[in-house]
């Protein structure tokens, strides 16, 4: 099979995977009569949506690179550090590579499981295609799912580095670093996807213990995001620490710069200052970079076979058990909530979205706790933590409806009312918000001067969070009923989801804006905040929850 044929076959596989990611969950579903007509253009629509999502990620990459270019060109003015210029620039480049690594890892992880579950590659196994061709076709199809972000990094990060440092050679020198970062991240994403496929998605057992084990594994899924958040939030502290190590304990600095991807960052920065430094200072980082490139080559070889191998993973876990324990029946609202949590416990992408607000609250709380800022500043950070929890909980609200889409054809055959469904999803969002607040509260309790008013602030914001959730879930349910468009994930339907999320964010942010930016008479700001939150909740609640017995 020649390359043209491989690319053509990979393109067919890619189309199938994108189509399934957007539409396949609908099969057997019940949708408006116009759906079949629209379904004829389904593959093209699916590709358009995935393209939009890829471009969104690519734009996110470009913004990161733009910031890094700015930091490289003017950063030393804003970072009063003792770190020498080459180490400073090397550290900035390396931090961006770490962020890039984490972004590719998490994107790859999100893509890998749907890639496997689409079973598109299994078609290759029954065709007269040899192993090597099948591996290449699967690999190329997998790469196509996030080609735009990968190519963006490969082109724009070297440009950003070259422009920031003011050296074409520095820009070119970072290319091996970008390539190896991408290959390592992709390999890790497939490796971890394999783990999650076996230990989480296909895990058997319905006991509390097995549920707890799955959630413990799912915390691993948040590591890349945690790395990104920590590296961005604590970049100033990291650079400062490196500066103090350079002058006080160079061994520590050398250890850090021996770790991947720091040798690549250092080499790129040092290339710009080539004339000034002795050649010997290049030898160690060069040797280390060479070693990492050898590892990258091995990783690339493994990566080539990984997508097709991953497709062959068969999840037949769990022994036959004769567990005759009776079923535990609960109220319908709680039953939907329990179901969603159970689904999330075996669906890392959903679990991640539940954990993300908690994760960010944790990082901001940690920042307040470790940073030991002055009480007033600590209070601001703590309030910022709650604000982030509010925004993230309402931003990801629609995803909790997406879990319903998976089995919507079945759920719609049950006597479940719209009101019950909306209330249960809203309850989940409120719980996520309250948990995120609890995480912040635990971490900042000793730092915040007026802790009771902080608690009051968080609780008075709750009605607005509930209002935003009701609005988002209500609109999505109406939309799903009318058109049958599955809001399966943010990745596949970013534009439409934004249209739902935006009003939700405005509703949840309104009381915060009143509290922070308006000076209204007669009442203290926190009371105005409570009034605003209730004014949001009452009309939205009445509108969305009208009609007790409307079927979904």
């Amino acid at each position: 099979m020649d390359w043209k044929q491989r690319f053509r076959a990979a393109n067919i596989l890619y189309r199938e995977v994108t189509f399934q990611a957007i539409y396949a969950l609908k099969s057997g579903n019940v949708f408006a009569a116009s759906e079949r007509k629209r379904g004829e253009e389904g593959p093209a629509r699916a590709q358009r949506r995935v393209f939009q999502s890829k471009m969104t990620v690519a734009v996110l990459f470009m913004l990161t690179f733009l910031a890094s270019s700015f930091a490289l060109s003017t950063g030393r003015r804003y970072f009063p550090t003792t770190l020498s210029p080459v180490y400073f620039d090397g550290a900035i480049i390396s931090l961006v590579l770490v962020v890039l690594f984490s972004l590719v890892w998490i994107t790859g992880l999100q893509v890998a499981l749907p890639f496997v579950s689409s079973q598109a590659t299994t078609a290759l196994l029954v065709l007269p295609v040899d192993e090597e061709d099948a591996a290449w076709i699967s690999f190329l199809a997998f790469l196509r799912l996030f080609d735009a972000p990968l190519v963006t990094a490969l082109i724009f990060f070297p440009i950003a580095v070259g422009y920031g440092i003011g050296s074409l050679w520095a820009g070119l020198a970072v290319v091996p670093g970008v390539v190896s970062t991408e290959i390592f991240a992709l390999s890790l994403s497939l490796l971890t996807a394999k783990f999650f496929s076996r230990s989480v998605s296909g895990a058997s057992g319905g006991s509390l213990r097995s549920l707890a084990v799955r959630w413990a594994y799912l915390i691993l899924w948040t590591i890349p995001s945690l790395v990104i958040t920590i590296f961005i939030t604590f970049s100033y502290q990291i650079i400062s620490a490196l500066g103090s190590w350079e002058n006080g304990d160079p061994t520590l600095l050398n250890v850090v710069f021996a770790l991947f991807p720091f040798p690549f960052g250092y080499l790129s920065a040092a290339t710009a200052a080539l004339s000034g430094d002795p050649l010997s200072s290049f030898l160690v980082p060069l040797a280390l970079a060479g070693a990492y490139l050898v590892l990258m080559a091995l990783s690339a070889r493994w990566l080539l076979d990984a997508p097709i191998a991953l497709s062959r993973v068969v999840n037949v876990s769990g022994e036959r058990s004769m567990n005759s324990a009776p079923l535990v029946v609960s109220r319908p609202t709680l039953a939907v909530l329990k179901k969603d949590l159970r689904i999330a416990s075996r669906t890392p992408a959903y679990a991640f979205l539940l954990l993300l607000p908690l994760l960010d609250a944790f990082v901001l709380g940690l920042f307040t706790y470790l940073g030991s800022p002055a009480p007033v500043l600590a209070e601001r950070y703590a309030f910022a933590g709650v604000t982030v929890a509010v925004l993230l909980a309402t931003f990801f609200g629609p995803v909790f409806f997406a879990t319903e889409i998976i089995g919507f054809s079945l759920t719609r055959t049950l006597p479940l009312s719209q009101r019950t469904l909306i209330l249960s999803k809203t309850l989940l969002i409120a719980i996520v918000y309250l948990l995120a607040f609890a995480v912040v509260a635990v971490l900042v309790s000793s730092k915040v001067h007026n802790f009771p008013s902080f608690v009051l602030f968080a609780l008075l914001e709750l009605p607005a969070v509930v209002a935003a959730a009701l609005l988002e879930i209500g609109v999505l349910l109406e939309r799903a009923k009318r058109t049958g468009v599955p809001i399966a994930s943010l990745y596949s339907g970013a534009w439409w989801t934004t249209l739902v999320v935006l009003p939700g964010l405005l509703v949840s942010a309104a009381p915060l804006a009143v509290y922070n930016y308006l000076s209204l008479p007669y009442l203290p700001p926190i009371a105005w905040m409570a009034v605003t939150a209730c004014l949001m909740l009452i009309p939205i609640g009445v509108l969305v929850l009208r009609g007790k017995n409307l079927p979904i």
């Binding site: 969950l25 099969s27 057997g28 579903n29 019940v30 408006a32 009569a33 116009s34 759906e35 079949r36 007509k37 579950s117 998605s201 296909g202 895990a203 058997s204 057992g205 319905g206 999840n315 037949v316 876990s317 769990g318 036959r320 058990s321 004769m322 567990n323 005759s324 009776p326 079923l327 535990v328 029946v329 609960s330 109220r331 319908p332 709680l334 039953a335 939907v336 329990k338 179901k339 159970r342 689904i343 999330a344 416990s345 075996r346 669906t347 998976i406 089995g407 054809s409 079945l410 719609r412 055959t413 049950l414 006597p415 479940l416 009312s417 017995n549 409307l550 079927p551 979904i552």
Partner: protein, 257 residues
Amino acid sequence: MSEAPLQIEGLRVTYGDVVAVEKLDLGLREGEIYGLIGSNGAGKTSAIKSVMGLLVPSSGKVRVFGKDPVPEGIFTRSVTGYVPEVSILYDALTPREYLEFVASVRGLSGFDDRLVDFTLALQIDGEMDRAISTLSNGTRQKVLVVSALLHQPRLLILDEPFNSLDPRSVRIMRDLLGAYVKNGKRTILFSTHTMEVAEKLCHRVGVLDRGLLRGEGTLTELRQQVGLPSASLEDIFLELTTDREQLSKIVSRLEAA
């Protein structure tokens, strides 16, 4: 007098320009098993989805125990049990978790013995704690059947329920469904293209072809209708839906090829 389990009058279902069901009239009596038979794309699933209120028909009237299933969706779903054609389930749940969800939404109690009987009869008792994503199609189908039977609905609607089942399970299912209507209070509507099962199980059969009901009645009535006194249901189906002469020509051509 109690309302008929199902009454359909002049049902028309369209998808854009495609007419899936045309002028369908159908009535089910309490205590009977009614089989809707037809080829792929005959309109069986569209008709069944209209009964469940999952599709809004272009025109015509559907009544489940006297109520319109679209505005009265909650009522319809309370009194019916439904097994869809495609066994899409929440893959990330186990059968036990899924059934727990169904029982909770339906507000059931005192069904444990029934559940044990169903799972034993359908041989899924050992699969209850495995993730649904790891189950075979047949097992998924059985989980769906159990979930539809759990609340002992007055009207059980099954869309191609025998598709993924092995011969042993087909036999067990057949016996199970036969016993289900024994008390005369429950009714079953199911679609199939397996003539043998329909012939052995159904009290009455409707033959659907390209959206139109070509014939309806007991086996005896259908034989009379086509004028073949000893015909099997398969013969009757072919007689009602196929141009036999053209089919013979195609078979001859294939044999000669």
